[in-house]
């Protein structure tokens, strides 16, 4: 009833190709952004911010990064944790070496370092494909983990090899370190994620994104129509790693506050891959939905039984939670293999016709 495009006329190409071509969508997104920027910090408790929203946004960014590579360019990677690790450790190294440089600039440079590493580990993709490539990217995961554990230079030779986020300021407000309030960190994360998500959205609509999709759908055919696989694949690896690197930097500096290499272990890589697949391959919105699903479901499952007065032993409860989470993944894959983003699309189509579908 309310979600109709009738009467919305596109009179220019620019209007036809906007990110959100439907007026209601534009309003919806604007409302979401307004709520996220203004409403949430006013209402949400520290637990909500620190345990739910901040990790959700950070993982959403990582998922966008991986989605660019896996969803749009078709290259499965299990090295996400490794690339995030590069971001986290390089941010630490850079900001402790140059304490006066603005932390956001440091994030970008750390992302660039990750991009470089991603470029190098993307090289095998020119020859190796499919699951072979997926397993091969694990080499990156393990090698990077070993490097950051072993080479003292990265963590300033402190005896334990753990990096801790020192306090850094932006416009006179402390945004990292223990004294930064959860609200401030949330807003910083939100800004970064919003900007990068917008960039990703525009990237995949343009020439670059289209060449990625061509490679994904059939790389030989793409080559024949004049898309260079080398350039395209490596660009996907590089940009994807940049996103992951920034996400890793945020994870250490704006969420956890300190980390060792184990925080970026292989489970992290799998987690992000989950988000991408559950959310929907080749969808920026899907990355957000997937991250929300993977981060929030376990928290709901942990907190639900006590809510209803069911007092289970904590280990049994955890086991049930793991089983439910696993079943949900299988369930969603069976119901809609194209992910939550596809469900959202179907919902939108139904909504257009509602309440008179005939």
């Amino acid at each position: 009833m309310f979600y109709r495009e009738a009467g919305q006329f596109k009179t220019s190409y620019a209007a036809d190709q906007t990110v959100f071509p439907i007026v209601q969508d534009r309003w919806g997104v604007a409302a979401m952004v307004a709520i996220a920027f203004v409403g949430v910090p006013l209402v949400a408790s520290e637990y909500m911010l620190q345990a739910v929203l901040i990790p959700f946004l950070i993982f959403a960014l990582a998922a966008i990064g991986l989605n660019l590579l896996t969803g749009y360019c078709g290259q499965v990677s299990l090295g996400t944790g490794g690339f995030m690790m590069v971001g986290g450790y390089m941010t630490y190294k850079l900001t402790t070496t140059f304490p006066d440089v603005n932390i956001l600039i440091v994030f970008v440079f750390a992302g660039l370092c990750a991009a470089l590493v991603g470029f190098v580990f993307g090289l095998p993709s020119l020859r190796i494909k499919g699951f072979y490539l997926a397993v091969a990217t694990l080499a990156a995961q393990f090698f990077l983990g070993w490097t950051f554990n072993k080479v003292g230079w990265f963590y300033n030779y402190n005896p334990s090899g753990t990096i801790t986020a020192p306090p850094r300021e932006l416009f006179g407000i402390t945004i990292t370190g223990p004294t930064a309030s959860a609200e401030v960190r949330y807003l910083v994360v939100l800004c970064i994620v919003a900007v990068f998500a917008m960039m990703a959205k525009n990237l995949v609509r343009g020439r670059v994104g289209r060449s990625w999709m061509a490679i994904r759908d059939m790389d030989i055919a793409a080559e024949i129509i004049g898309i260079q696989p080398i350039r395209t694949k490596l660009m996907a690896f590089t940009i994807s790693s940049f996103y992951c690197g920034v996400a890793g930097a945020m994870m250490v500096f704006l969420w956890l506050g300190s980390a060792e290499t184990e925080a970026f272990d292989i489970n992290q890589s799998f987690l992000v891959l989950f988000m991408v697949i559950i959310g929907g391959l080749g969808s920026i919105l899907g990355s957000f939905l997937g991250a929300a699903f993977v981060i929030i479901t376990p928290i709901i499952l942990t907190n639900a039984p006590p809510m209803f007065g069911i007092d289970l032993p904590i280990d049994l409860q955890k086991h049930i939670e793991i089983m439910l989470f696993g079943s949900l993944i299988v369930f969603f894959l069976i119901v809609e293999p194209h992910g939550l983003a596809r469900l959202w699309q179907i919902a939108k189509e139904k909504l257009r016709l509602w309440p008179f579908p005939y």
């Binding site: 408790s45 520290e46 637990y47 909500m48 620190q50 345990a51 739910v52 990790p55 402790t96 070993w146 554990n149 300033n156 402190n158 005896p159 334990s160 090899g161 753990t162 801790t164 986020a165 020192p166 306090p167 370190g177 223990p178 004294t179 969420w255 956890l256 506050g257 300190s258 980390a259 060792e260 290499t261 184990e262 925080a263 272990d265 929030i296 479901t297 928290i299 709901i300 942990t302 907190n303 639900a304 006590p306 809510m307 032993p313 904590i314 280990d315 409860q317 955890k318 086991h319 793991i322 119901v335 809609e336 469900l343 179907i346 919902a347 139904k350």
Partner: protein, 439 residues
């Protein structure tokens, strides 16, 4: 149809989440102890006895004494799976529970401890990382809110060297000796390295560091290296499955078990049982007695399990890590008692608990009252020294149980303390902390 189900599921989920925000209110006036536990996941075999030990000691205090000076203890477990990220969630969930907020956190995980150290000062919740975590926290001037008494990894490594010297007949015998350190390749595993290196320079033994990557299921290469090197002593900082495999491999290369010493996280019952008879003779460091023959255990069996010994045994009573948790819980409870001595017999806030920890003075006489005479050692914490550098003791596995085989071995404080102060000063500089003065 499918869509409808999904939407319904989504709504149900959202209601669940909104309900999360309202955490259950606890009875007024209780002293709340948060418990970060891992009863599942890769480290569950270590996490289960620890969690049971805490739970039983708190229950004992409630059932036997009616609480701490009449203030009932309440506690809540939160499962972390030894995972740092889940640890953050648990911390946020539990830190404001109870009438006065969380008394103190015992993270029992290196990663989570590192995570909480900077937060503790801001949220005013003390952390008691008993024998783990950041060793530099022993300097109370920089780490006001963190405590790691009775002793730390660095002290432990020095005591191990001291033990070797005792066994070999003096520090001068160490010269030219070969000592290998088999360690978990993580922040935790590497803790002892600087101390062992510094002592190698001082006493002239040859140190070999052998890292084992997580999880440590396959250590053939490590033990081949040991077979070739033929070290006189092997010290191990292992964790989880790494311990069990290492002990098995040591046995299979016929390494002399008497000269194979684990640190205190490499010497629990779960570590030696899978290796079977191969583990006989394996030693490990500890700072409390093994077994369930102590008075406090008798009290636990009586007041917590209603005299049901088999049920107590099924709940790990008397296992090494269980006993460690009992000692740990006792320190927490005594700190609150100390704080009550100054602030009155009511539930203590985090700030008051911190004062209690810092002024904690558990004498041998007090241990006797607690039923822990000989079980562990007296401890006196001070503002400048959050570690106390207490001695360690060596226990040995005989195939059925652990038993103490050494006297209390003092740590080499003259070596360790300066290293602690340097590390703490570095941390302070990096994180812009101004150390307080202690007088």
């Amino acid at each position: 149809m499918k869509l409808k189900t999904l939407i319904l599921a989504g709504i149900a989920g959202a209601t669940g989440l909104s309900a999360v925000a309202a955490s259950p209110a606890l009875a007024q006036g209780d002293q709340f102890f948060p418990m970060l536990v891992y009863r599942t996941g890769p480290y569950a075999p270590s996490g289960i006895p620890v969690a049971n030990g805490f739970r039983d000691y708190y229950t004992l205090i409630n059932n036997r004494d009616g609480g701490i000076n009449g203030v009932k203890i309440s506690f809540e477990e939160c499962e972390t799976e030894y995972n740092t990220k889940l640890g953050v969630e648990c911390y946020e969930k539990l830190k404001n529970n109870g009438s006065t907020g969380a008394s103190l956190f015992n993270p029992y995980s290196t990663g989570i401890t590192y995570q909480l150290i900077p937060k503790a000062a801001v949220d005013e919740v003390p952390i008691l990382s008993m024998g783990y975590g950041r060793t530099a926290a022993a300097d109370g001037r920089v780490f006001e809110w963190v405590f790691n008494f009775p002793t730390t990894y660095w002290s432990q490594a020095s005591a191990f060297i001291n033990y070797v010297a005792q066994q070999e007949g003096g520090f001068e015998k160490l010269k030219g000796m070969k000592i290998a350190h088999v360690h978990h390749n993580s922040a935790y595993g590497k803790e002892a390295n600087p101390t062992l290196e510094a002592l190698a320079k001082k006493f002239g033994y040859k140190l070999t560091l052998l890292a084992v990557d997580h999880p440590g299921q396959e250590q053939k290469a490590t033990w081949l290296q040991i077979r070739r090197l033929k070290p006189d002593w092997v010290f191990m900082s292992g964790w989880g499955v790494m311990n069990q495999v290492a002990i098995k491999e040591a046995a299979s290369i016929n390494f002399k078990m008497d000269n194979f010493v684990g640190n205190w996280w490499s010497g629990s019952d779960a570590d030696v049982i899978p290796a079977g008879k191969g583990a006989v003779g394996y030693k490990s460091a500890t700072f409390h007695g093994p077994g369930a023959a102590w008075q406090v255990h008798k009290d636990i069996v009586k007041h917590v399990y209603g005299g049901d010994e088999s049920k107590a045994k099924a709940n790990n009573v008397g296992e090494v890590l269980y006993n460690r948790a009992v000692v740990n819980a006792m320190f927490g409870v005594e700190a609150i008692r100390t704080a009550q001595g100054k602030f009155g017999n009511k539930a203590m806030t985090g700030k008051q608990v911190r004062w209690g920890l810092e002024n904690l003075n558990i004498t041998e006489a007090r241990l006797k009252d607690l039923g822990m005479e000989g079980f562990t050692r007296a401890v006196k914490v001070s503002c400048i020294d959050h570690e106390t550098g207490g001695p360690i003791v060596i226990q040995q596995w005989d195939g059925a149980k652990w038993s103490i085989v050494s006297d209390w071995i003092p740590t080499l404080r003259d070596v360790v303390r300066p290293m602690v102060e340097t590390a703490a000063a570095n941390y302070a500089a990096e994180n812009k902390i101004t150390p307080r003065t202690c007088n």
